[in-house]
């Protein structure tokens, strides 16, 4: 358990859970300091749970009290039993105070002999549970490879017979422990890593935290600071029952920092991350069931967004105008005797749950929506926001604005007021239309010409880009009837190449 300095041989084993980072490392208190006080207490208490405490026991009073005098000088005297330590944290939970005292107690008191890698991983994942938007995530799709050459010569009937066995076999079945083992087998020759699997407490996701280091030794002689280096940590989130997974992307500023620091290409965290990312489909593959990665052109900060747009649920392939179907806002259950055009969409969406205060809140609802999306207005460079004066007050709807509202509703569906909100924080659009050219006439020939023509790129950022565009359409800044469908979030992407108003797949290569 203690760091042995005597035997040091390069191995391919993963970094042990019990590898301790000295408590005196300044970045440790910084890492723990990101957590709030209740989160810290929860974390410490979960460290002391029976199933965890064996892997990182707290520092207890040694049975021979020879060096007792030494202990007295420290601010946190060592406890004698485990129960005592637990008692102390329960007491801390019951009274008020700052979080600094808890960090100090953890680092200088109960875990003065070091924080293990697993504890650090638990702290990081706890932070992620509290702040789901703290990282930027990229969604990747796992596509089953049809590399079997014989399948091409099979007759159609065979294809149907095989396929009809199991239409849901497109998802790799993940058994967490064996997945980590095979992932380890993939990347172990290249990098050394520490793996931590954990189930998210708030979302239907399983997180895999991988800490990578470029040393072949079991007890690396790096500075202890490196263990808290955020660029060496990859998070992979596996949503339940769908062929997607999400990986955390590195922020560019950190990466450039570490680039200048390390210098060598092989130790660049970015390279290490790429190695890990490429190893994932290989680790998921089995004989006769090979997977490959496919980018899905979606990156967002909010995990909920990714779950909505690339998740197991209904909304994965019906967004924008089609979100009324995802939310089932159009029609009710076949047992509902009310004609569906007499029922409010919100009522359909809520289903049979509480229908309190549903009746006369048309105005209330729109007001709420206004307030919600006021902060979400994107940075639209073309038009100043002053043009919003054209909007009528909500109370008196002119026929014009009523028509506009209907048009907005038909284009955006339930975006912005959906039961599963999916705010995009960034939307990159590249327009490939040649100015003045008729795009429909010769789509194939001017593909080459598009390389020469000036391309227009639009970037929207904000807390909810699509919601903001909807708001602009409601105010009359954007014409809801003529606007192309990528503005309604129908394609559910954050990066798109657009020609003639429709999205192109240029990543096919």
């Amino acid at each position: 358990m203690a760091r042995s300095r005597t035997v040091r041989a390069p191995t391919t084993a993963s970094l042990p859970n019990s590898l301790r980072i000295p408590s005196t490392t300044p970045s440790l208190s910084k890492t723990l300091g990101k957590l709030s006080r209740p989160a810290l207490l929860d974390l410490a208490i979960s460290w002391l749970e029976d199933r965890n405490v064996e892997s990182f026991p707290p520092y207890l009073q040694p049975s021979d009290t020879n060096n007792h005098d030494n202990e007295e000088t420290l601010p946190y005297p060592a406890a004698e039993t485990l129960a005592e330590v637990r008692e102390a944290y329960i007491d801390l939970r019951d009274r008020k105070g700052g979080k600094q005292e808890i960090i100090e107690r953890i680092l200088e008191g109960d875990w003065r002999h070091g924080i293990t890698l697993r504890q650090l991983a638990m702290a990081d994942l706890r932070y992620m549970d509290d702040r789901p938007a703290s990282l930027r995530w990229t969604a990747m799709e796992l596509v089953r490879l049809n590399d079997d050459a014989t399948s091409k010569s099979k007759s159609i009937r065979d294809a149907i017979a095989i396929a009809s066995e199991d239409w849901s076999a497109n998802i790799p079945r993940i058994q967490a422990a064996s997945f980590v083992k095979s992932l380890h087998a993939e990347i172990a020759p290249l990098v050394k890593a520490h793996y931590h699997l954990s189930r998210s407490s708030t979302l239907p996701l399983t997180f895999l935290r991988i800490f990578i280091i470029d040393s072949p030794y079991q007890t690396p002689r790096h500075q202890p600071e490196i263990f808290t280096d955020a660029t060496r940590i990859i998070y992979i989130a596996f949503p339940d029952s769908c062929p997607y997974f999400y990986t955390s992307s590195i922020t560019t500023s950190n990466a450039s920092d570490s680039n200048s620091r390390s210098g060598s290409l092989a130790t660049d965290p970015r390279t290490l991350q790429r190695l890990v990312r490429e190893a994932i489909p290989k680790a998921l593959s089995r004989p006769h069931q090979r997977f490959t990665l496919k980018p899905t052109a979606l990156a967002a900060k909010n995990l909920q967004t990714l779950l909505t747009l690339r998740g197991p649920g209904r909304s994965t392939s019906s967004n924008g105008a089609f979100s009324i179907f995802a939310d089932a806002a159009l029609e009710g259950s076949p047992l509902d005797p009310r004609p569906s055009n007499t029922v409010l969409a919100e009522e359909h969406m809520r289903g049979r749950e509480s229908i309190s205060s549903m009746h006369d809140d048309k105005e209330n609802h729109t007001h709420d929506h206004d307030n919600a999306s006021k902060s979400a207005r994107p940075a639209n460079k073309k038009r100043p926001s002053g043009s919003g004066t054209a909007a009528m007050p909500d109370g008196a709807l002119s026929p014009d604005s009523k028509k506009r509202r209907l048009a907005v509703e038909s284009r955006f569906g339930t975006v912005g007021c959906s039961v599963t909100p999916a705010p995009l924080d960034r939307l990159d659009i590249r327009l490939l239309d040649t100015p003045g050219a008729e795009e429909d006439a010769n789509a194939n020939t001017d593909r080459n010409a598009a390389n020469l023509a000036p391309a227009v790129s639009l970037t929207f950022t904000g807390s909810d880009v699509i919601g903001g565009i909807r708001k602009l359409a409601e105010l009359g800044v954007v014409d809801p009837e003529r606007m192309p469908s990528w503005m309604t979030g129908e394609d559910a992407v954050s990066t798109a190449f657009v020609r003639g108003g429709t999205r192109l797949h240029v990543d096919r290569g």
């Binding site: 596509v143 091409k152 209904r314 009310r338 192109l504």
Partner: protein, 346 residues
């Protein structure tokens, strides 16, 4: 002192009580209004009222009744149409409707919508599933001449609300094949998830263009398979819920994952104690491993573990049960044998 400040800081208890009362009355009003709407609409669509109204109007034509009829007839017609739709939805489970894509650049704005209704175990209908199909004319590609001998309309999936574990793309690849010429166009328009379809459909189509044009699109087959898959999924998850109910596991689903039991600390979170099983079989856990409820995991009090796979027909296809000495063949045979009646029967 800090703790004492709380009761003083809060508003008047009497006020609070009144607020709560007002809230409950409001809720009551809204539920009653809801009930009234349900009752009026069901009254309008009931066959008795309908025949009564028809009889009344055919025999006597007094002034009051004609005005009544004029008031009522649009309502009655709407209610009648709605009831017929609902009857179709209940009886057939899959209904079609037209839908117009509001996007201005869409080449084929007229979409064919298919709605699939699945009835769950408690007699309620799940949220309807939708598939929206787009007509593919392939007019921008050069190969459209050979379309002349077939029927000109090709359907392809545009949007859908089917859960991701049912591969709509692969289903569509088999039942709604597109000629390979237009498959690239389709991939351009579909969302990111449609990529696998072109791969799976290009497989059997590679040998010759002639074959791909011969393949007919089978919309009925597509809808039938899709609905079968959805129904099987609902049945599987219902079966798991049913078994959990029977085993008395519904309430303690949170604590059953914890493996370490500690006897002397019961209220403490450290050693989460497993609650004793409420059944005499000693089963403390039974749950589906994922949303699709294809695999079910079982756990016994004495540490035995098991996992079995449910087929679409509702049978236990495969089962693995482990005890201290390894595989427990006896239990496995009991679960898989006899058409699955030892394990799960729908």
């Amino acid at each position: 002192m800090n703790q004492k400040a709380h009761p003083f800081g809060s508003p008047d208890p009497q006020e609070e009580e009144l607020d709560a009362e007002i809230r409950s009355i409001r809720a009551q009003i809204s539920t009653l209004a809801h009930r009234k709407r349900i009752l009026t609409t069901s009254l309008l669509s009931s066959p008795k009222i309908k025949t009564l109204l028809q009889n009344q109007t055919s025999t006597t034509t007094t002034t009051t009744l004609t005005t009544l009829k004029e008031d009522l007839s649009p309502l009655v017609t709407a209610a009648g149409a709605h009831t017929t739709t609902n009857h179709h939805r209940i009886a057939f489970g899959a209904t079609a409707f037209p839908f117009k894509d509001p996007a201005p650049n869409s080449p084929d704005p007229n979409l064919l919508g298919i709605r699939i209704d699945v009835c769950a175990r408690d007699g309620r209908f799940a949220k309807p599933y939708y598939v929206l199909l787009r007509q593919e004319r392939g007019r921008r590609n050069g190969q459209q001449q050979q379309r002349g001998n077939g029927n000109g309309k090709r359907l392809c999936v545009h949007r859908h609300t089917i859960p991701a574990f049912i591969s709509v793309d692969r289903l569509a690849g088999v039942y709604l094949p597109l000629p390979s010429s237009s498959s690239s166009r389709h991939e351009e328009d579909g969302s990111g998830s449609s990529g696998s379809e072109s791969e799976s459909e290009s497989g059997p189509m590679k040998p010759g263009q002639a074959r791909s044009t011969r393949r007919k699109q089978d919309l009925r087959g597509f809808v039938r398979e899709l609905r079968r898959e959805l129904v099987a999924w609902h049945l599987r998850s219902d079966a798991v819920v049913f078994l959990r109910e029977k085993l008395g596991l519904i309430r303690d689903s949170e604590s059953e994952t914890d493996a370490n039991a500690n006897e002397d600390e019961e209220e403490q979170p450290w050693g989460e104690k497993k609650s004793p099983p409420r059944n005499d079989l000693g089963i403390i856990g039974l749950e589906a491993t994922a949303v699709e409820a294809r695999y079910v995991r079982m756990e016994w009090e004495d540490g035995r573990l098991g996992r079995f796979k449910l087929s679409n027909a509702g049978l236990v296809e495969r089962a693995v049960f482990m005890n201290d000495r390894g595989r427990d063949k006896k239990v496995e045979d009991a679960v898989t044998g006899g058409g699955g009646e030892g394990g799960v029967a729908f």
